[in-house]
């Protein structure tokens, strides 16, 4: 799985103790240990990516990438067999659909994000082309990570649509639409962007929402600066390649210095070339930061949903109060609040007792309804707060763990970079000394 994809990287990081693989294994382990049911039963991976062409919705030719989702029941492997995995092809838009479904169906869960749709935070040598093989590879890794996170989540992993997505290629889209999530999806989007004032939100959720905004702006700034740093580092290393060329040319006209210069030149070429691998590794680090940039959005959505529910509850409560007040006024005849009916009564005369009875009866019905609504909404809010807060806590711990590991792996990358630098320049120094 992810461990395998990352094993190659370990070979390049010589001597570093807590290597990439170990970090990824730690992540996988904790994912499995967190009471996940699906990941315990099923091995999941996004093994390959392929280009396809086909007709799109407006009957135009398009090229797109499909990803191979492989699954293998863990039981089957334990018995000493090594069966071939089941597999099916999914494109990015299907992953998106899955995620949208989960967002709507489990609004109290901080749903893991997808890898970015388009390459952002690129520095000049990094391709912004979606078809670029490096981009596709990083996306493949990101999609696998996405599935693993979901499949190890105590709530999300039990979802039937998820299981269908992983195991049956055909009829999946229809099944998703059949859940009717689309209707809720539209209202969700509207609600998230609406402005409304909540009087008594749970302070913890307000704080979390502020944190999610901060996290978003901070990580996006950091990613932008990091990309610029990468760009500059690339420039420094690559210019040294010119040394290689000129030393080689110069060595041709020298007698005593020739050999020393020539070999020094080779080391300069090696130095210049080494930056490509260094920066490719750093893109993985950037991807880890990006995941949390996008996670911040998901966290924000969960907080906003609470505020929305709370707002609806407050609205329902205040509606109920106002209805009760109206009933009281109608019953006692005392007009405490201004009402249109009251006005017309004054102007055109009182209504008949029958009319009053009808209105009173209507109000009573509405009040009963309103009390139900308030009870429902209160329960909904309490349930939501309970479940959401549990998942927020889980998310918080996961984030602290993951980001700490990411920072450590960044340090390991820098150490590897330094070690390579020491080696190249020590070799070059030896060559210069032979000049």
């Amino acid at each position: 799985m992810m461990a395998e994809a990352v094993n190659e990287k370990t070979a390049q990081i010589e001597g570093s103790e807590l290597a990439h693989t170990e970090l990824e294994n730690n992540k996988n382990k904790t994912m499995v240990e967190e009471g996940s049911s699906l990941l315990r039963r099923l091995e999941i991976s996004v093994a390959e990516a392929e280009k396809r062409t086909g007709k799109n919705t407006v009957n135009m030719q398009e090229t797109f990438t499909v990803y191979l989702v492989e699954t293998r029941p863990i039981d089957a492997m334990k018995e000493g067999h090594n069966p071939a995995p089941d597999s099916l092809w999914r494109r990015y838009s299907e992953f998106e659909l899955l995620r949208n479904y989960l967002l709507v169906t489990y609004p109290y869960i901080v749903v893991p994000p997808l890898p970015e749709k388009r390459a952002e935070f690129v520095w000049h040598k990094l391709s912004a082309d979606n078809m670029d093989p490096d981009f596709v590879e990083r996306r493949r890794v990101g999609l696998e990570n996405f599935l693993l996170r979901i499949a190890s989540h105590s709530v999300l992993s039990n979802d039937k649509i998820l299981y269908h997505f992983l195991t049956k290629e055909h009829g999946w889209k229809e099944a998703v639409y059949e859940t009717g999530f689309q209707a809720k999806a539209d209202s969700r989007i509207k609600a998230l962007s609406a402005t409304f004032r909540v009087k008594n939100p749970d302070k913890r959720f307000t704080e979390m929402r502020h944190y999610s905004d901060e996290l978003q702006s901070i990580t996006s700034h950091l990613l932008r600066v990091r990309a610029r740093v990468a760009d500059r580092l690339y420039g420094v290393y690559k210019v040294h390649g010119n040394y290689g060329r000129v030393f080689s040319e110069w060595s041709a006209i020298e007698k005593e210095m020739g050999d020393g210069l020539q070999s020094a030149g080779h080391h300069m070429d090696a130095y210049a070339a080494s930056v490509d691998d260094i920066l490719e590794e750093e893109e993985h680090y950037a991807d880890q930061l990006k995941e949390y940039l996008f996670y911040a959005e998901a966290l924000r959505a969960v907080c906003r949903k609470h505020e929305l529910i709370q707002y609806e509850l407050e609205t329902a409560s205040s509606d109920l109060i106002s209805k009760k007040q109206q009933r009281e006024e109608l019953a006692t005849g005392m007009v405490r609040t201004f009402s249109f009916k009251g006005m017309t009564n004054k102007l055109f005369g009182q209504e008949s007792p029958e009319q009053r009875e009808a209105r009173l009866s209507l109000l009573e019905d509405q009040i009963v309804e309103g009390e139900e609504t308030v009870k429902e909404k209160t329960l909904e809010s309490q349930e939501y707060v309970k479940c959401a807060w549990v998942d927020i806590q889980r998310f918080k711990e996961q984030k602290d763990r993951d980001l700490r590991e990411a920072l450590i792996s960044y340090a390991i990358m820098q150490i590897s970079l330094c070690k390579k630098g020491i080696q190249v320049w020590s070799n070059a120094k030896e060559c210069f000394q032979k000049m």
Binding site: E17, L18, E22, N26, Y211, E214, L215, I218, T219, H221, L222, V225, R226, R228, V229, D231, R232, L233, G235, V236, V239, H240, N242, Y243, V246, E249, W250, A252, I253, E256, M257, G260, A264, D400, R401, L403, R404, L407, I408, Y410, A411, I412, Q414, I415, C418, K419, G421, I422, W425, S426, A428, K429, F432, Q433, M435
Partner: protein, 419 residues
Amino acid sequence: MSGTIGEPTGPPTQANAMAADISGQMLDLDEDEDLEVFSKKASLTDGSAFEFEEEDDSDCKDIFVTVDNPESHITAVETFITYRVLTKTTRSEFDSPEYEVRRRYQDFDWLRGKLEEAHPMLIVHPLPEKFVVKGMVERFNGDFIETRRKALHKFLNRIADHPILSCSEDFKVFLSAQVWELTSYKKQGPGFLSRMGETVRAVANSVRGVKNRPEEFAAIQMYVEAFSNKITNLDKVTQRIVKEQKEYMEELKEYAPSYTLWSGSEEELVGPLKGVASCIERCCKETEEQVNQLSDTLVPSLHEYALCSETLKAVLRRRDNIQAEFEAKNEALATRKVDQDALKEDIGKLEDRMELANSALKVDWSRWQRCMRGDLKTAFVSTAQKNVDYYEKCLAVWETFLVSQRTEGCEDADPDQLS
């Protein structure tokens, strides 16, 4: 060591000055004072065979020169910088063992001109450039003055280390004369018009061109062309590296605070975030030092040799001119029905002059090559060492951070994986 042997009567000419130089050199090698024997020897052997181990041995060094203490002088007419030139020597031709004088750039330029004039076949290293491309304002900038001071110091030391140039009277006066003494000394010597005459003759000869350039000088010519090209490229590449490093540093200066800013929003992550920020800051400082090394050591060295290439070309041109003049007279002998005897005498003198010039150049050429190899090797080795130091320091910084994170996270992680 002063050239007293074979001192001619009459106005000093290039050839006589040459004789004085060569005889001085001769006393180093073998006691033979016979000039003719020497000149034949020189034409037979390859100049690079002469190894001057003695003067490169610092134990034998008997003159020490430093350039320091720049000071600004403001007069009604101009503002300029003077440098203190300190000399310590045991040489007998100096009246005192120590001298302290103040000199300005013009004075160094004058000295160089005089040395080239007196020793046209020797390679006199160039001075740092007169003006910086950016403009006059730069002249009084601290870094510029320091760079120039170092270059002037190197310039004088090269002369002091040269077996012939260090014996020059002009050099002695430069080091020892008070300012007013120097001014009056400068006023002596061949006037402007006679120098004009020399230049015109030189131009005329160069237009004529050399017909039978000896192979070794043809080889040197080709080498100098190629060397000039390579060194200039290396100079440019190094300056480009400096530029890229500086831009990298600027980005790092924004990068570290991003992590610090983030730490302000976190609880558990404060430690690692601040740690990474501090590591990046440290590395940024180390990068600054690395850039300084390049600017202070490698760039000036490469730049000096890039400028020196022009000096080399000029010396080769002067040698060619001497040969051209000789060839022209030879042709005249064959074609014109002039006073054959007088012409033959002229040709004889020119031939001697040419052979002395060739041997002087050959010897100094091999000396120059050795110095060049030594200088550039030193500069590149020092740069490589600095880079190793840079990476070692950064490595230590990140490893310390890593250790701190591991001990912090000991409770969480599996101890078996921390080995």
